[in-house]
């Protein structure tokens, strides 16, 4: 019988389905082999994050990556931790964004390579604390609970709703850069859309994936589900995503659409004060929760490499990097003003903080891997600076526990 004369009644659906399954199996086998060669691990998932009811997002423990290892609780640690603190343990929880996570921007020092989960600030701090004679005989845990682009909004809700119950002895809050990004305009402050006042980009994705009930959401969720089980679908999704993003970026560059009109005047000093108060309200909530629970809390200021041209003795490679990421004078001035408010706020309230500016002023090593994140050496140096600044606090807590063994 000629193929063209086959009627729908003679179509062998079972054969078609079998051939499709055979093709999918072959593609899946090839994709899994590819992932294994790329990462050295069996495929589990390409999703970096998963939704959390507390603080929007957590790292996905199942992510398959050559460098990013996430433990079962979503921490950027190789070691596993239990929520119930073992007896005789000094536990530190570090909260924050990509600086703590050790993320990487598109312009970076390639020779440094990505920072693995054994070389973030947390692991260096754990080694320093473990070597502290005052903590001799104690188990030391330093948990890296960073999630990329966590602002104080996400950090505070994650701490108050979840991590406070992990019973840390010390909480250190990173992520300052995510709260004080670009210079706000007067309109952004008026409309309350600047940084911590506006929606996190992932919140929009949450609305689309979780709250929308339409065909597009159904297809997207089917794709996400398939990606979590099939390496072939995950690879296809990754490849298509990059191609579509590139195509839309090219189209955007040739677009004739003009930006919408708006008030682009910079915010006044009073506006900046109002914005800082919005930030500080979240910090106050964290401090109140920590004090109520008998936990020490401290805050860490993250400096932008682009602001340090006249401050840090830059290494040769940092000089090259600085030329790529140098910030406009008004951005540096804004960061300086906000840092001044930040230091004053915590200083006046006797809340411990770590500002590594003195270390940066004297250290000529390559501490930055990109515009904001640190190299392995940089993480080590920042861990030491954190320890030096908080040593009295740590020793006081340990001494207090020794005097009152029944205390936590």
């Amino acid at each position: 019988m000629d193929g063209s004369s086959v009627t729908s009644a003679t179509i062998r659906w079972s054969r078609i389905i079998c051939v499709m399954l055979a093709l999918l199996t072959a593609a899946e086998g090839a994709a899994r082999l590819y992932v294994w060669l790329w990462t050295g691990k069996e495929y589990r998932s390409t999703a970096l994050y998963r939704w959390s009811p507390y603080g929007l997002v957590r790292n996905n423990p199942d992510v398959t990556s050559p460098t990013f290892q996430i433990d079962k609780s979503g921490f950027r640690n190789i070691e596993e931790f239990d929520r119930l603190k073992p007896p005789g343990t000094y536990r530190v929880i570090l909260l924050g964004g990509s600086v703590l996570y050790a993320g990487l921007a598109s312009v970076f020092l390639q020779e440094e390579g990505r920072v693995g989960s054994d070389a973030t600030i947390a692991q260096y701090l754990q080694r320093i604390l473990a070597a502290d004679p005052a903590l001799k005989g104690m188990r030391v845990e330093v948990i890296n609970a960073a999630v990329n682009y966590n602002r104080i909004v996400e950090t505070s809700s994650a701490y108050i709703a979840e991590y406070v119950h992990w019973d840390p002895d010390l909480v250190i809050v990173f992520g300052s850069a995510n709260n004080f990004l670009g210079v706000p305009t007067a309109e952004e402050i008026r409309l309350k859309t600047h940084n911590v006042q506006g929606d996190h980009p992932w919140k929009k994705e949450f609305e689309r994936q979780v709250n929308q009930r339409n065909l597009a959401a159904l297809v997207e969720n089917a794709l996400l589900t398939a990606s979590d089980h099939l390496a072939s679908v995950a690879m296809l999704r990754k490849l298509l995503g990059k191609l579509l993003d590139s195509a839309i970026a090219v189209a955007g560059r040739h677009s004739m659409q003009t930006p919408p009109p708006g008030d682009h005047r910079p915010a006044s000093i009073e506006d900046e004060e109002r914005y800082f108060n919005d930030y500080a309200a979240y910090a106050d909530a964290m401090v109140a929760a920590a004090r109520r629970q008998g936990q020490d809390i401290a805050f860490f200021w993250e400096h932008w490499l682009g602001d340090l041209g006249d401050v840090k003795p830059l290494s040769g490679r940092e000089q090259w990097l600085h030329a790529q990421v140098r910030r406009a004078p008004e951005q540096t001035a804004y960061a300086t003003r906000m840092r001044g408010r930040w230091v004053r706020n915590f200083g006046e309230r006797k809340i411990p903080y770590v500002d590594p500016i003195d270390v940066l002023r004297t250290n000529d090593q390559t501490l930055y891997i990109d515009y904001l994140h640190y190299t392995r050496r940089g993480n080590d140096v920042m861990a030491q600076a954190t320890y030096d600044a908080l040593k009295p606090l740590i020793h006081a807590k340990v001494g207090d526990r020794e005097r009152r063994p029944d205390s936590r």
Binding site: I16, G103, A105, Y149, L239, A249
Partner: protein
Amino acid sequence: MTIVSSDLVPFLYLLPFLAALAGLGAFLELRCGRAVSGLLRPAEWSLLVKLVAIVLLAVILVMGGIALDFPSESFLYGRF
């Protein structure tokens, strides 16, 4: 979005796969081309290709819509 050379590194691993797939395809075509193409009738092959194309088109439409409405420059650390 800026694509840098390091973004392309994972895809370099694809090259040996593509070469291997092309080699496998050529081998199968030479050794058992008739057997493979004989699995389905021409109309059934056509139907199979259409089904795969419909699925791919749905995926591209949805992902294209997301890429347009949620520009990648807003998601420095990746989308969901």
